[in-house]
């Protein structure tokens, strides 16, 4: 599939039946109905979706969290996941970061003319499996097709609603001096896995993306009454961006101990080789939690009960107030230096 100029979709499947998506399949007519009937509806068999209405009608029974994300990751398939799994986890996790239990998803697909139907099927299967594991319903959606060369395979947009479960409002403005910063596990694996899957970088590694739902550990923290000020998943921009955003929103100084941030050896090695900072690489199955100090030990114990939280650690502390918001990294040599988010150009199409 790959030559010098066209990106490979790195699809692990055999050729399938040779069927491909055509422009007409997005036209709203019979061709599209055939595609929906053959590929989409059998896999996403939700009663609301089956009603073929313009939208889903739901009754969440209380305050909701509402979030949306677009996914343009290249390649579509990478060790540990694919764009479908990424989309469902990403949106479910964003809802969890709001202190909500994910309820339902809307799925938007933009397909490139020529995308093998087998690839589409595999991705939709992935969406189904991931959603089912979460008890999450795909209740409505949309499908468009654009000309060959205009979508790199496909783009996915997921919009999600969730029922608020947090007793107090989870808010990036909430952290106060004295709070501790926890991370739910080692960082940077998703970034390395996607980069490794890009043939143009030419390296092999066993590192798989950490793409996973973090809903269960988050709900466990909330149910246990842990005083959680704020939650954030470090996706684009990595842990650094997440910390800086919160510091700036809350107007605080956050001190992070570099040696305390868990990073796997292979992630470190890839960073050395490619000139990246592990704190700038995205994760898709991790979160930061700002927790009142008295509750931190309990929070850590709760997180470590879950496989996805086994590597949880305290990495820093909110030290003081500063309207500009600052993050200071304490190096192993005892130096303090500012931590900033990356400039943004080095890792295109990572999520």
């Amino acid at each position: 599939m790959s030559d010098g100029s066209a990106p490979s979709w790195s699809c692990p499947l055999p050729d399938g039946d040779g069927e491909v998506v055509r422009l007409a399949d997005g036209g709203g007519g019979r061709a599209m109905q055939r595609l929906l009937a053959r590929v989409i509806r059998p896999l996403l068999d939700d009663p609301e979706l089956a009603r073929a209405h313009d939208g889903a009608v739901l009754d969440p029974g209380g305050p909701i969290a509402f979030t949306t994300d677009s996914f343009v990751v290249r390649p579509l398939f990478f060790p540990g996941g694919d764009i479908g799994r990424l989309a469902v986890c990403g949106t479910a996790n964003d809802l969890a970061m709001c202190g909500a239990e994910p309820l339902a998803l809307a799925l938007g697909l933009v397909l490139e003319e020529g995308l093998p139907t087998a690839v589409l099927r595999r991705i939709v299967e992935s969406i189904r499996e991931t959603a089912r594991d979460l008890g999450l319903r795909v209740v409505t959606g949309d499908l468009k097709v654009v000309e060959r060369g205009k979508a790199d395979g496909l783009y996915v947009t997921t919009t999600g609603i969730g029922r608020i479960r947090a007793a107090t409002r989870i808010d990036p403005a909430a952290p106060v001096p004295g709070d501790l910063v926890l991370v739910s596990g080692d960082v940077g694996r998703h970034g390395v896995a996607v980069l490794a899957a890009r043939e143009d970088l030419g390296f092999d590694t066993e590192v798989a993306s950490d793409c996973a739902p973090v809903v269960a550990p988050v709900l466990a923290l909330l149910d246990a009454g842990v005083a959680v000020r704020c939650l954030r998943d470090p996706t684009r921009g990595g842990t650094a961006a997440a910390l800086v955003e919160i510091a700036e929103t809350a107007g605080v100084v956050i001190r992070v101990e570099e040696a305390a941030v868990p990073v796997r050896e292979e992630v470190r090695a890839a960073c050395e080789l490619l000139g990246f900072d592990p704190l700038h690489l995205p994760c898709e199955g991790r979160f930061l939690a700002f927790v009142a100090e008295p509750d931190a030990a309990r929070a850590l114990a709760i997180l470590r009960r879950f496989p996805v939280g086994r590597g949880a650690a305290v990495i820093g502390r909110v030290e003081g107030r500063d309207p500009r918001g600052r993050v200071l990294l304490e190096t192993p040599f005892g130096q303090r230096r500012p931590l900033d988010m990356p400039s943004g150009e080095q890792l295109p199409r990572i999520c």
Binding site: E272, D322, R326, R337, D340
Partner: protein, 368 residues
């Protein structure tokens, strides 16, 4: 990771810092040459571990920074040429030419491809025989062998649609230029360890003797740099001016013979213009006559021209490259000039001193 982690051991770093403090009895000014060393010093805060009497100046060892505007303009022109593919190291993409940079050329439809290795560019030429593939060969002596190999293989394999835009520079003439500048304060140098891995260090002996400066071939990890600093300071305190090798695990006096042989075959020494410094005779490499057919300047026209504005009026990149100013001395530093909107090359390149200071000392709006 072996051969990396033990050279970042905090305990060894602390012991070296103490040893340096015990050694120093009067002020000294040292310069590290290589941008990679500057980066490590600022990132690990090594300059802050030195006693106040020791001043560490940052040298011009950033090949991205010193690439002449004319070459950047030529690369952009090639990228815009229909049918051509311009391949480059990632660092070069945001270096400003006289109007715009390669990233901008790519955004406007030019075919610019980032490669990790010059052989990747050759591979693109193999895979796309109808396109003219040009590799923008920027670098010091460390990179010259790889660049030479790309051209050597192209000739051997008869790959006709490949050429190189050569902008290679050599370190010793830069040291010479700094030493011969009136008012030079530098008393000792940390020579670039990876450059010397290729070239060896015999060519530094005449410099050390003539100018009476110690030159210590130094590596890039915190322990390497502090050891190099310490060895240099010991020489100054003892009144010696010799060439020493801290980076002996990688550097031999004669360097890498196989690499030097290939570089000598494919390239010849030429004069080059150093952005921010000026023309330095016999300070760079160009293709040797036998390989002239692979010169992109032959196929696309010479890289020349005044190039318009060399730098923004407020940009002091040249002074920073020569070690005469430090980034925080610049009025535009971290205000008008930041990585997102750089005024000059030392902020653009990841190895430039300004970029290093910004990233590790002045991120966001806060000074640490």
């Amino acid at each position: 990771m072996r051969f990396r982690d033990e050279y970042r051991d905090p305990e060894r770093v602390r012991r070296l810092a103490r040893a340096i403090a015990r050694t120093v009895t009067r002020p000294h000014v040292l310069m590290e040459v290589c941008g990679g060393q500057t980066h490590a010093i600022v990132r690990f805060g090594l300059d802050r571990l030195l006693p106040a009497e020791v001043t560490l100046l940052h040298g011009p060892g950033c090949p991205v920074c010193v690439t002449p505007v004319a070459h950047v303009d030529k690369a952009i022109a090639i990228a815009r040429t229909p049918g051509a593919i311009l391949c480059s190291y990632g660092d070069m993409l945001r270096v400003p030419g006289s109007s715009g940079d390669l990233a901008g050329a790519r955004a406007r439809g030019g075919d610019v491809r980032v490669v990790y290795s010059p052989l990747d560019a050759l591979e693109i030429a193999r895979r796309e025989p109808e396109r003219e593939v040009v590799f923008f060969a920027v670098g010091f002596e460390t990179t010259a062998p790889a660049n030479a190999m790309a051209v050597w293989r192209a000739r051997r394999e008869g790959i006709r649609n490949f050429s190189m835009l050569v902008s290679q520079v050599l370190v010793p003439p830069a040291l010479e230029a700094i030493l011969s500048t009136p008012g030079n304060r530098v008393e000792g140098f940390l020579a670039a360890g990876h450059v010397c891995t290729i070239m060896g260090y015999r060519e530094y002996a005449p410099l050390a003797a003539r100018w009476k400066v110690p030159i210590v071939v130094t590596g890039f990890e915190p322990v390497d740099i502090l050891e190099g600093v310490w060895m240099c300071l010991r020489q100054l305190e003892e009144g010696r001016a010799e060439v020493e090798n801290q980076y002996a695990r990688s550097v031999r006096p004669e360097g890498n013979a196989a690499a030097r042989r290939l570089v000598g075959e494919v390239f010849r020494v030429v004069s080059r213009h150093w952005r921010g410094i000026g023309d330095l005779p016999r300070s760079g490499l160009g293709l040797a006559p036998d390989y002239a057919a692979f010169d992109a300047e032959r196929r696309f026209g010479p890289a020349d021209g005044a190039g318009g504005g060399e730098a923004e009026a407020d940009c002091i990149a040249g002074l920073v490259l020569r070690g005469e100013r430090k980034p925080p001395d610049c009025p535009a530093f971290a205000t008008r000039c930041r990585p997102e909107h750089p005024l000059g090359v030392t902020m653009v390149s990841s190895e430039g001193a300004c970029a290093a200071y910004y990233r590790y000392r002045f991120a966001g709006s806060a000074e640490a």
